[in-house]
Symmetry: C2
Subunit: 354 residues, 2 copies
C-alpha cells in the first residue's frame, strides 16, 4: 500500500484537523491548459482521450505539475454510463454531448442494456488504476459520476437542454417511468463508483449538475433520493483508508438542510450561497466543498486573493472545509490565475488551523 504524502483533502472531508485548507478545482484538467489541448489533439477527440488510459492519466496529472493542488480527479466524461447502456454518446463541435438514441417511454427504459461495469466500463477503471499508480501517493485521487437525475436529463433530452422539456414532461406525466429510469441509473452508479474505489479512487464525488432546475419536492424525490441510495451503497473503506463521498448539486442552495442528511461526508456548494451561512445550516453533519465563483479567476491577483480571504473568513475557524470553485474552471482563464488562487488558499488559511 502506497503511503499518502498529502492527506489534507481526505482529512478535511472527514472534518479532521489539517494544517491548511486543501484545494482542488472542478475541471482542473481542462481546456484552459495549453498542455491539455496538446494531449487532446494527440488523442484525436474528447472521447478517445477518455478511453486512452495513458493519455487520461497524463491530463489528470498536468494541473498538479503547475499548481499545488491537494487532490487529483479522474479525467473522464460524465456520460459514460448512458453510453454503456447503448445510447451512443458523441460530441458535436460546439454543441456539447449528444446521444444517438433517446429515452422517452416506459419501453425505452425497459430495453436499456444492463451495464456490466467490469467489461463495459473497464476503460474507466483502467484509467483509475493507471492514475493511482502514477500519483504514487502524491495526493488522493477522486473518482466521480453524474447523479441519476443529471444522467437522465441527457438521456431523455438527447443532449444538453435549456428547458428540460422532455424529461420534465415525463416527470409530470409519467413519474413512474422516470423513477424506473432513475433506479436503474442509481444501481449502475453504485457499481461504477465502487469499481472506481476498488481500482484506486480514494474519494468520490456525485455531480448533480441539473438538480437545481427542479421544483422543491421534485428535487427531493427525483434527484436527492437517488443520490442518497447511491451513497448508502458505496464502499466506505479501501486500502486501509476511509473513502469519503461528496454530493454536489449546482443550484442546490435551497436544499442544503436535506442534502446534509443524505449520508455523504461532504456537500459541494456552488458560488451563489455564502459559505458561512451554509455552514450554519449544515452544522456538524457534513464538510463543505467550495465555493468561489469560477469567474473570479478572470480578476487581478490581488482581487483573487481578496476573494479567497473573504471565503476563508466567512467559513471561519475549524475543520471541514475543502476549497474549490463553485463550478468547473472556465476555458478562457489565464493559466497564471489558478496558481494565485491555489497558493492564496494555502497561505491565507493557515491562520484558521492553529
Amino acid at each position: 500500500m502506497t503511503q499518502l504524502k498529502n492527506d489534507r483533502f481526505l482529512k478535511a472531508l472527514l472534518r479532521e484537523p489539517v494544517d491548511a485548507t486543501p484545494v482542488w478545482m472542478m475541471r482542473q484538467a481542462g481546456r484552459y491548459l495549453p498542455e491539455y489541448r496538446e494531449t487532446r489533439a494527440q488523442a484525436g477527440d474528447f472521447l478517445s482521450l477518455c478511453k486512452n488510459k495513458e493519455l487520461a492519466c497524463e491530463v489528470t496529472i498536468q494541473p498538479l505539475e503547475r499548481y499545488d493542488l491537494d487532490a487529483a480527479i479522474l479525467f473522464s466524461d460524465i456520460l459514460t454510463i448512458p453510453d454503456a447502456m447503448g445510447l451512443g454518446l458523441y460530441f458535436e463541435t460546439g454543441e456539447g454531448p449528444r446521444f444517438k438514441k433517446v429515452i422517452r417511454t416506459e419501453q425505452d427504459v425497459a430495453s436499456l442494456k444492463v451495464v456490466n461495469t467490469a467489461s463495459d466500463l473497464s476503460y474507466v477503471t483502467d484509467a483509475v488504476t493507471e492514475i493511482h499508480g502514477a500519483l504514487s501517493g502524491r495526493v488522493p485521487l477522486i473518482g466521480f459520476s453524474g447523479s441519476p437525475w443529471t444522467l437522465a436529463t441527457y438521456m431523455v433530452e438527447g443532449g444538453s437542454s435549456k428547458d428540460f422539456r422532455h424529461i420534465k414532461a415525463m416527470m409530470y406525466r409519467e413519474p413512474e417511468t422516470l423513477h424506473a429510469l432513475l433506479n436503474v441509473l442509481a444501481d449502475s452508479v453504485i457499481d461504477y463508483l465502487n469499481a472506481q474505489i476498488d481500482a484506486g479512487a480514494q474519494a468520490v464525488q456525485i455531480f448533480d449538475t441539473w438538480g437545481g432546475n427542479l421544483s422543491d419536492q421534485a428535487y427531493l424525490d427525483f434527484s436527492l433520493a437517488y443520490m442518497q441510495k447511491i451513497v448508502a451503497g458505496l464502499k466506505t473503506e479501501a486500502r486501509g483508508l476511509r473513502v469519503p463521498s461528496i454530493v454536489f448539486t449546482k443550484g442546490g442552495g435551497l436544499w442544503l438542510d436535506q442534502i446534509a442528511d443524505c449520508g455523504a461526508n461532504a456537500l459541494g456548494l456552488d458560488w451563489t450561497m455564502n459559505i458561512g451561512r451554509a455552514r450554519s445550516m449544515v452544522g456538524d453533519r457534513v464538510a463543505l466543498q467550495g465555493n468561489m465563483d469560477p469567474s473570479v479567476l478572470y480578476a487581478k491577483p490581488d482581487q483573487i486573493k481578496a476573494e479567497v480571504a473573504r471565503i476563508l473568513r466567512d467559513f471561519g475557524a475549524g475543520n471541514g472545509h475543502v476549497f474549490n470553485l463553485g463550478h468547473g474552471i472556465h476555458q478562457f482563464v489565464d493559466p497564471a490565475a489558478p496558481k494565485v488562487f491555489v497558493d492564496a488558499v494555502h497561505e491565507l488559511s493557515a491562520q484558521y488551523h492553529v
Copy 2:
C-alpha cells in the same frame, strides 16, 4: 377614467382581500398560441411586432380571449433600453437577441447614448396607451422592464450567455465600470417604467432573469441595489389607483429576505422554492407571485390541477398571492393546458378567501 372591472390582481399585490387568487402567466402572449404565430408572421419579425402598436396590442389581448386571466402584460422586448442606447438590437434565428455593439470598457459606458424615453421609446408607450384603451378596464395592464443587471449582461456579452464571462470579468476586475453602467441603466429604467405608468400601465414588473447567477454579496451589490433604486423612483399612483411593483429574480430564492425589503409590493418566485416556505420568510412585507414549474403544463389535466392545489395549499389562507408560472410559458405547451391551469386557480382558491 375607465373603471377597472377586475381588480383582483392589483388587490392581491397590495395584500388586500380578494374572492379568488388572481392568475396570469409570464410570456402569456407567445409562440405557444397559433394566433400569436399568425400575427407575428404578419408583422415580419419579432422587433417589428414590438414596434407596431396595433399588432402589439392584438397579441397582448389574444391570451385573454382564450383564458380567464386576471392581468394583461405589455407585449414588448426586454432589451428596448439598450437598443435605444445605440447598441443595435437584432435577432438571429434560433440564437436569441444579439447586439451589434458591445460594452466592455469605461469608455464604452461613457459613450452610451442617453435615452430620451419620450422620443426614443415612444413606440413602447404608444403600445401601452393602445392596449390600455383596448382593454377598457377588463383587467389591469402590467408594464415591465429588465433589471439593470440583466440588461447589462446582454450589453456586455453581446447577447445571451452561459457563463457571463465578459460581465463577470468586468465585475471582478473593474467593479466601478460596471457600477457606472448599472447606474445609467437604473436611471433609464425609472424613466421608462414611469412613462409606461403615465401611458396606462397599472402595475410594473422588473425582470431580473440573470441575477441568480451572481454570488451572494455580488447579487446584493450589482443587482438588488439597482432594483431598489428603481423602485424608490417609481410613481406609486396613477389615474386614482395605486400602481404596485413586482421584483422577480429568477433563481433568487437565497435572497428572499433581502428582496422583501427592496421596497417593491411583491416578489416574483421561480418554481424552485416552496411558496409556503417563501411566505414564512417574507412574512407581511410583500405579496408573492408564483410559482408553478412551467413544465407542469405538459402534464395531464388532473396532474395540472393537483399541482395548482398543492401550491395553493402551501401558500395557505390569507392575502397576498398572485398565481403565476415560475418563469415564462414554454413554446411547446398545448394551448388547452393553460385553460385547465387558469380555471383551476380560480376554482380551487376560493376556499382560501372566505
